[in-house]
């Protein structure tokens, strides 16, 4: 059934190639549809797309903006992907991200006296608060049967309002811009330099997080359990794998990634939690995970696509008459194609079925 090539590397490449083909096709089709829309509004698609691409990757500053956009999406994408492996839909990435952010904004100030060594402490604290926040819907699902989609959505409102309250009241800073105090400069995540602007080492933390998620899912007992529960609760129960505990852990571990993402955003980009804080990274994480087929490495690539589109759109709007909202259309079409696999089969014919089979990435990379 599986293509056998000589080396492990070859197999990995073949699997990744097959898995990548489909999202790439989805992106290309959505750009084609976008071109029609641009034409219909009396603009030149070539000019718009070249502005989009140069705005995303055309200069160090552009690349820097793309990386800044990409970093939080990796974390929130992982939050969705890890839970999804246990068969759970974590819609709470937004709130989990905020919880991590407020944790960092608080400890980044109060532990400032410790100097740079406090940064890892702050980030670990973000992981912990994200984890605990995620354990709530996990436990509600596992032990009380409350559907995680509902509870994670509801907990978003609680998290966002709670953190905004904290940022504007006990943690309120002295600056005129509403939000928390600036964290100690020594604790900030160092920027990359090379003219990349605000892009910082956080992007590497994101990639490390993806590697960690991969190792967790495919190289540990816990990951084996989570995946077994996700693919077949009946078989997991038969094998003596506790479903409840793994349900709690899968959402909580995912939420820990989102919490870390919030911390990285505060410690890397803003140095504080401003109000209003960045919005929609949690929700876009769902799209990132879908585009990345719920695989940690796919999430990194998916985040890069989203991040690039967001930064490129600014340039496109600046240089041509095509509005920012076109990116929303492009993303919507991409996600539509990625999720509605039957639609792609309809467009590309039966042959595309191979490409849309969901487990390819997992089989290719997960070995």
């Amino acid at each position: 059934m599986t293509a056998r090539s000589g080396s492990v590397f070859g197999r990995l490449l073949a699997g990744a190639g097959g898995a990548l083909l489909f999202p790439v096709l989805a992106i290309l089709i959505s750009f084609a549809i976008g071109a029609v829309i641009i034409l219909a509004t009396g603009n030149d698609p070539l000019a718009a797309y070249s502005a989009l691409i140069s705005g995303a990757f055309g200069s160090p500053a552009a690349i820097g903006r793309t990386l800044v956009n990409t970093t939080p999406l990796i974390f929130t994408g992982l939050a969705v992907a890890v839970a999804f492996r246990a068969g759970l839909f974590n819609i709470g990435g937004e709130g989990q991200f905020y919880i991590g952010a407020v944790t960092a904004a608080w400890l980044g100030v109060s532990l400032g006296f410790l100097g740079p060594i406090a940064l890892p402490v702050v980030l670990v604290a973000c992981v912990v608060t994200g984890f605990l926040w995620g354990a709530i819907p996990g436990a509600l699902k596992a032990y009380f049967g409350a559907h995680e989609v509902i509870t994670t959505i509801m907990l978003n409102f609680i998290a966002i309002n709670l953190t905004v309250y904290l940022a504007l009241n006990p943690l309120r800073g002295s600056s005129l811009v509403p939000g928390t105090e600036n964290v100690a400069a020594a604790l900030r995540i160092p920027v990359l330099g090379f003219g990349l602007g605000r892009a910082n080492l956080g992007i590497f933390l994101g990639i490390l997080a993806a590697v960690a998620a991969y190792l967790l899912l495919w190289r540990t007992k816990r990951g084996f359990q989570i995946r077994a529960v996700g693919l077949s609760p009946g078989a997991a129960n038969y094998a003596g794998i506790p479903i409840g505990r793994n349900t709690v852990l899968a959402i909580a571990i995912g939420a820990a990634f989102a919490g870390l993402g919030g911390g990285v955003e505060v410690m890397g980009v803003y140095g504080k939690m401003a109000v209003p804080f960045v919005s929609n990274v949690g929700f876009n994480g769902i799209g990132v995970a879908l585009l990345g087929r719920n695989h940690p490495f796919g999430v990194v690539l998916g985040a890069l696509v989203f991040g690039g589109l967001f930064s490129g759109a600014q340039e496109m709007q600046f240089q041509t008459d095509v509005p920012l909202s076109l990116t929303v259309v492009l993303l919507a079409v991409i996600l539509l194609l990625v999720t509605a696999t039957k639609l792609v089969e309809l467009i590309l014919g039966k042959r595309a079925r191979v490409l849309t089979s969901g487990t390819r990435l997992e089989r290719g990379l997960g070995q």
Binding site: M1, T2, T220, K221, A228, L231, G234, A235, Y238, T359
Partner: protein, 521 residues
Amino acid sequence: MVEKRTRGGGPSAGIPKVLEMKGVTKTFGSVTANDDVSLVLHRGEILGLLGENGAGKSTLMKILYGLYKPDSGTIFVDGEEVQIRDPKDAVRRGIGMVHQHFTLIPPLTVAENIVLGAEPRKGGALDLNRAIKETEELSERYGLKVDPRARVADLSVGVQQRVEILKALYRDARILILDEPTAVLTPQETEDLYGTLEELVADGLSIILITHKLGELLGVSDNITIIRDGRVVDTVKTSETNEGALARLMVGREVLLRVEKGASEVGAPRLAAEGIVVLSSTGATAVHGVDVEVRAGEILGVAGVDGNGQVELAEALAGTRRVEEGRVYLDGEEVTGLGADERQEQGLAYVPEDRSHKGLVQDFSLWENNALKTYDEPPFSGRFGRIFPKIMRRRAAENLKAYDVRPSDPDARAGSLSGGNQQKAILARELSGDPKAIIAAQPTRGVDVGAIEFIHRQLLEQREEGKAILLISLELEEVRSLSDRIVVMYDGRIVGEVGPNATDEELGLLMAGRGSGVGGR
């Protein structure tokens, strides 16, 4: 199995053909399910359609019933070429189907179920009285006894099947297709069904009986069409064939139908339960205080009609279902409080009755499935919760080869294998760990004859090695040919124990709960 009845089976010349399928081909992707299949059904004939699982019987019948569209080929009903686009077309042409899994609505009454979708109306409303009257008439005419006012949920499986048949007859079916109709019946119910079928054909109906059980067709059919790998291998007169010949045609080689059971030394009890009470998933008491004891070197068969607590008993012994009362012992030690994982580590193997939802994670590779229970034990796992896929894959490759799983590629997705090979993959996992006791629940359910032979041999080998085996099966023949002792379960109790030479009648009475009243406790 069933008393051999000689039906007419005479030459079919002169009797009109009610149905003919010519050159039917159906492919799914690269798989050819039906390859140029032709088949003829005469008026008043019972035609057996015999083939292993996956041979293409069901696909062919689904084409006939309008559920699939054939790639090519033609269908004639009463000599007239017809297009059957959906089940409605099929019903209009007088084709009725009794599915293996009933399509009844349990809370509704028999009459309501029968008229559903073709209701007699008075004004705009359902004319329930007429529905009841028509059901009664139909029931009387064909000798299919049912109470039109009874709720389907309260009926036994055999009676529910009768309702399914009446449902088809109510729609004026002249051609009746029955898909594995005896899978859920006791021997007596099977006898009743065959009696019914004879009356139906005497009335001019024609019947296609789909099955993978050889013995069944001999007693009841006129002709048998055998399908293998999507092709018609042969059509034979029932009166001119026998089990061995049919098995050969079906599998394509010689098969041992009855395994030779060697001698075995019976030792100490290895797996035992004392007065266990177990609840079903719905919370009802499914096992009412059962005692069992399986000793080393013996196979204890558990016979019974499906749904009498066998699944719950197996799960309670294996540790995947809570025991409310009583105790479970493994090799003399109490394990009542231990989970499935711990019992497995102490030497309990469990082949579950449902391989697709329990036995295997369909979307896991074979190597992951092979380690489904042992992923947390060395050498598959090490410090810091790590697991070692390479070692898992290597071990799986050895196991798959040893148990003749095809393909033996450890990277193959479990769900891509045929039923028989999936079952062998489960056996490979469960038996390779050198267990002390084995629970085998319906180990050959829905697998082909070749795989059955293999699985039976493996179980007997384990018996000779001194393992204690609890065999739960709905197939009487299987229980009898493998077991050293047989207990019968009815309504959550063990209602009797018999030897392996018990007759159909003895077992059947016990299975129907009409035994000599030997209590469970």
